[in-house]
């Protein structure tokens, strides 16, 4: 059972957390501009990395915050955890 450091609460057992898949998948700002293939890539395609992997976890039985975990998918070693940045997306304004 993993030990995961929640950036808000500290080190806790894996049973307090739930897994949220690959991190860093951004929702397209203008989905309507994407063709079916591009939309399907966003929707369905995920990496299956062997080695270091950035993923989302939720402290679901704790503070309920989502955060980022850098984990080695081979050794299960957790290298780092970090909060999600509170930033607005960089919206491109049409000319």
């Amino acid at each position: 059972m993993l030990l995961i450091k929640c950036p808000w609460c500290g080190v806790r057992d894996e049973t307090e957390f739930s897994y949220g898949g690959e991190a860093g998948i951004e929702r397209p700002l203008k989905p309507e501009d994407l063709n079916d293939q591009e939309w399907a890539d966003y929707l369905f395609m995920r990496k299956n990395t062997r080695g270091l992997f950035l993923e989302q976890w939720n402290h679901s039985l704790g503070c309920r915050q989502w955060f980022i975990v850098e984990r080695n998918t081979v050794t299960y070693e957790i290298i780092a955890t970090s909060k999600i940045k509170n930033e607005a997306p960089d919206i491109q304004v049409d000319a």
Binding site: M1, L3, P28, N58, W66, T75
Partner: protein, 1000 residues
């Protein structure tokens, strides 16, 4: 008669006689016995039949490695299957049965398998029982019966089990010489230590040892060490506790058996405990398993491991034979021969495959009058149900061959030892790597993945002095690594013994040298033989993991304790490779079997899952309403009057609600308060409809889609203020929707200022439904409820009896209706007040079944019943809810090629052509005349009821291109294959214009 019991000696109490039965026969043993030692004392030779060939088998070992004496203990609700007699402590009244052997152990009819064994090699099941595939169920029934796998109790287990979570600095596994020293050394340095051992007493190999330590006998010395440990407040000693799993980040599980040794059932006590330990450091001192030697008929009853023989003599005062022969390739086994002779065996012969070399053990054996024969091997065992003798040949270790001639010699016990295999199970479970050691001829721990240390014989360290030394050093290192002040302990003084190295002897007779050899067993529990390994190799298997699966070597509860290393070595020989290249199989938890009871712990019965009750629950129980469990909630199903059955109650409730007034507890709806300056921006993304256009005080029915465009949840939502909303979700979806909203906010739009608060438990919701609902509610509230002032889909605040309420004019029945939200603490009071006020209109409480009928009459969907994760809003006829102007989650997916197919399944209504058959939910819909070939299935029935107000059955269904097929006739086929002819209709059966819910 305990014919094999010695007059004195051992750690048993001869004053405490215990009675027990084995296969219905009564026996006596003593306190301190295991079931195995007591059976041996009573001269019971056959304890089981083997898995495949049903050969008679006897006790081989004295601990976790025992492959044959596996019993069903007890009966009825407290019975346990798969118990090793070597690990079952005897108690008075113990009832044991062998799991294999029919009709009896001495005559097993299936032993015919042994005589025909040429037919039953490895892979036999795979090859034989493949055709026809549908017969497998029948084959399986007989195979399982023949295999004899014990029986699970049919009644609930009355025992109590619990779990304990704990943290420690050091977890020491095994309390033999190395483990004791490590625990003491770390403990004296102040570390928080847990030391666990699977036996009743600490000491491990020392319990049967004759060695002197610090001038004390081994067992006395162990007692003195245990006392020191117990005096340390920072040390927890757990006996009868098996560490059975080693998981990531030094998380280990321990199964402590608290009362198994007392009786089959001990009222008022915890039977077993599951410890869940997170340790900073783990010290593995589990010891080693003695290896069998491999030769023809090496499985006959009366063939026993050398260490087990010493255990039975020195710990239990049992002499398992009078004329034993010991077959060995190492020095340590000599101890068993010496113990036999001292305990009174008439003649003892040692057959050693090595040439004679000076050694302390050899000298001691000779001094005790033991006959020694070097350069010799046992090449066959004589006797069927019991060893009667052996065939001995001379052996040339240089050429690895034994002479063709053999001399016969009688004996009543064949003791064997092929050296030792470190118990690397936990080390391997932890992710550690093992390496073959060419000097010690065993796999030893090589690299570790976690903070663990292997010491003593599980590290391949054999001599007592070295084990003690390693333990002390390890305790010191561990304490140091934890920054504790190291408090050293002295190395206890032991006698130095000169030992000769063992000689690897994997196979007495090469498989391919002799035709038609009797079977040479590797894994007794799974009946895996040497020829199975050769067969696997001939059939092309080369990897140990494949060979394991093909031959069952090390399967099941054995987990590679007894025969694995021999099997790997023989695979290496068959492939002509060094053992180091073969490697080991994967070791998995559990190390020894763990009962389901202790895994479940307290999470059973009412504690299995929380039960949620609404604030109005007492009314429902007083009304004798049966409950339906929905998302952990207990919801009243219907409210029977007198001895009404369900269908009459539902008809009455439906008609009363449609004609006058019904009342329903809708408190289980998910309720979420959403506020913050970006609430509109957020909800615009969440819902398909135009949230921004809603006026304050406006309600709307909304659906949420997944990003795949499919309906995720639905419910009424209301705009309470400019930046303040109230959402409802389905009962079952409350928690997941809340989490889902949080995820979007936190991971995708963290820059939005939005606050989500679940109000599901804080607020109760009462639905007042029917043409007279306004009249009754108006009596209790000041707010003007007239249609002009409070039209359909509006919300307002008001008071009832001085209590603040939120009113919603919404309807899930199609009737004029109001939902009243009130603080849950007052909900029952308000409910009762409404019941009294509504009496003049025969107010009728109704449950979930009537709610379903009423909503189905109106074609309102239930997410998860009329949708299934593949239904988008257009499919469900909710296209009118989908905004064309804004983006929302799932919108782009509605434009995908697959989403705009014309033959998608669509929600429609169904009417039975005979106007009286209620169509079973789940029924498949097919054409009345199907074309040849596979019958095309157009969809299925999702909701189906008898409509009391219409007087005929109604149903909702999802049918391909359904909306274009209104009026078509199909057949509905359910699992009982009954066909009902149905007509496709619009999915709205009652008040299609919606006049009733808009009532003025």
């Amino acid at each position: 008669m305990q014919i094999n019991r010695l007059k004195s000696g051992g750690q048993i109490n001869r004053d405490k006689t215990l009675r027990f039965t084995f296969n219905g026969q009564s026996y006596k043993g003593y306190l301190g016995d295991t079931l195995a030692s007591a059976l041996l004392a009573n001269g019971v030779d056959i304890v089981g039949r083997s898995f495949k060939y049903h050969r008679p088998r006897g006790i081989v070992g004295s601990g976790a490695e025992e492959p044959n004496a596996i019993f069903q203990i007890g009966s009825g609700a407290t019975t346990e299957a798969g118990m090793r007699a070597t690990q079952v402590e005897l108690y008075d009244g113990l009832v044991a049965k062998s799991e294999k052997g029919w009709p009896s152990l001495s005559f097993d009819i299936a032993e015919v398998n042994d005589w025909c064994s040429k037919l039953f090699g490895a892979g036999f099941y795979y090859k034989t029982f493949m055709y026809p595939a549908k017969f497998w169920k029948i084959y399986e029934y007989f195979l399982r019966r023949m295999a004899g796998l014990g029986a699970a109790p049919r009644e609930p287990d009355p025992d109590y089990y619990n779990h304990q979570n704990t943290h420690c600095d050091v977890l020491v596994v095994g309390a033999g010489p190395a483990g004791l020293m490590a625990a003491l050394s770390a403990g004296k340095s102040g570390a928080k230590v847990i030391i666990a051992d699977d036996q009743a007493n600490f000491g491990g190999s020392l319990l049967a040892s004759k060695e002197l330590i610090e001038g004390l006998t081994a067992d006395k010395w162990v007692s003195s060490q245990l006392q020191m440990l117990e005096e340390l407040p920072n040390v927890t000693c757990l006996s009868r506790s098996t560490v059975f799993g080693y998981y990531d980040y030094n998380f280990l599980t321990i199964n402590e058996r608290c009362t198994n040794h007392l009786s089959e059932f001990t009222e008022g006590h915890v039977r077993q405990k599951l410890w869940r330990v997170r340790a900073k450091r783990v010290v593995l001192a589990q010891g080693a398993f003695e290896r069998p030697l491999v030769f023809p008929n090496n499985d006959r009853p009366g063939v026993m491991l050398a260490s087990a023989v010493s255990n039975y003599i020195n710990r239990y005062g049992v002499l398992p034979g009078k004329n034993p022969i010991l077959f060995t390739n190492n020095d340590s086994a000599y101890q068993a021969a010496i113990d036999m002779k001292i305990a009174g065996a008439k003649s003892v012969l040692v057959v050693d495959s090595r040439s004679e070399q000076p050694s302390d053990m050899v000298d001691e054996a000779r001094n005790n009058g033991i006959e020694l024969q070097f350069d010799a091997v046992i090449r066959n065992v004589i006797g069927h149900t019991k060893v009667k003798g052996v065939e001995i040949s001379t052996y040339d270790s240089g050429s690895n061959t034994c002479a063709a001639q053999a001399t016969k010699r009688t004996c009543d016990l064949l003791i064997y030892s092929g050296g030792w295999s470190p118990a690397v199970h936990l080390h391997s479970q932890s992710g550690g790597i093992n390496k073959w050691d060419d000097n010690r001829h065993c796999f030893v721990p090589h690299t570790t993945k976690q903070a663990s240390f292997s010491i003593g014989s599980c590290n391949g360290t054999w001599s007592l002095e070295d084990c003690l030394k390693e333990g002390i050093a390890c305790g010191r290192d561990v304490a140091g690594s934890l920054n504790l002040k190291v408090n050293d302990i002295n190395l206890p003084i032991t006698k130095k013994i000169k030992l000769n190295p063992m000689m690897p002897l994997w196979q007495v007779i090469a498989e391919n040298s002799v035709e038609n050899l009797p079977k040479q067993f590797l894994d007794y529990q799974n009946d895996t033989t040497v020829s199975d390994i050769y067969l696997a190799v001939r059939e092309g298997y080369t990897g140990i993991e494949h060979v394991k699966r093909y031959t069952a070597l090390g399967f099941g509860t054995d987990q590679g304790k007894l025969g694995n290393i021999n099997g790997m070595a023989i695979l290496a020989i068959a492939l002509g490779k060094p053992i180091a290249e073969i490697g080991t199989t994967t070791f998995r938890p559990a190390y020894t079997p763990v009962s389901f009871g202790v895994c479940a712990g307290e999470d059973i019965g009412e504690m299995f899952e929380p039960t949620r009750k609404t604030a109005i629950h007492d009314f429902h129980t007083e009304s004798k309403a049966p409950f339906e469990i929905v998302g952990q909630w207990l919801r009243p199903w219907y409210f029977p009057k007198d001895d009404e059955d369900m269908s009459s109650a539902v008809i009455r409730e439906c008609l009363a609600t449609r004609s006058s007034l019904g009342i329903m507890d809708a408190s289980t709806l998910g309720k979420i308060d959403v506020c913050g300056k970006d609430a509109v921006t957020f909800l615009e993304k969440i819902y398909t409809h135009d949230v921004a256009k809603m006026a304050v005080g406006q309600c709307a029915y909304g659906v949420m889609l997944g990003e795949d465009g499919m309906i995720k949840d639905d419910g009424v939502m209301a705009r309470l203020g400019e930046n303040h909303f109230y959402l409802t979700t389905t009962t079952g979806g409350a928690a997941t929707v809340m989490s889902w909203l949080e995820q979007w906010l936190q991971t995708e739009w963290p820059h939005l200022t939005v606050y989500l608060t679940s109000l599901t438990d804080q607020l109760s919701t009462i639905a007042l439904v029917g043409p007279n609902s306004r009249r009754v509610l108006q009596k209790l509230v000041d707010a003007d409820l007239s249609n002009d002032n409070f039209p359909f889909m509006k919300t307002c605040k008001s008071e009832i009896a001085g209590l603040k309420v939120d009113l919603f004019r919404v309807s899930f029945s199609g009737e004029l209706a109001f939902e009243i939200n009130v603080n849950s603490n007052f909900a029952l009071y308000i409910w009762n007040l409404l019941m009294v006020t509504g009496r003049d209109f025969e107010i009728t409480p109704y449950g979930t079944e009537t709610m379903h009928v009423l909503r189905a009459e109106k074609g309102f969907i239930i997410v998860g019943q009329d949708t299934d994760g593949s239904i988008n809003p257009h499919d469900a006829g909710l296209g009118w809810l989908v905004s064309k102007e804004k983006d929302f989650i799932g919108k782009r997916s509605l434009e995908r090629v697959d989403s705009i197919r014309s033959d998608r399944k669509q929600l429609v209504g169904l009417l039975s052509v005979d106007n009286k058959s209620v169509i079973p939910e789940g029924a498949q819909l097919i054409e009345k005349k199907s074309p040849s070939g596979p019958t095309p299935m157009y969809g299925h029935v999702s909701s189906s009821y008898f409509s009391p107000v219409l007087g005929h059955p109604i149903a909702l269904a999802l049918i391909e291109s359904g909306r274009n097929r209104i009026g078509d006739k199909l057949l509905a086929i359910s699992s009982d294959a009954k066909a009902i002819e149905v007509t496709i209709a619009k999915p709205i059966f009652y008040d299609p214009k919606g006049e009733r819910q808009h009532a003025k």
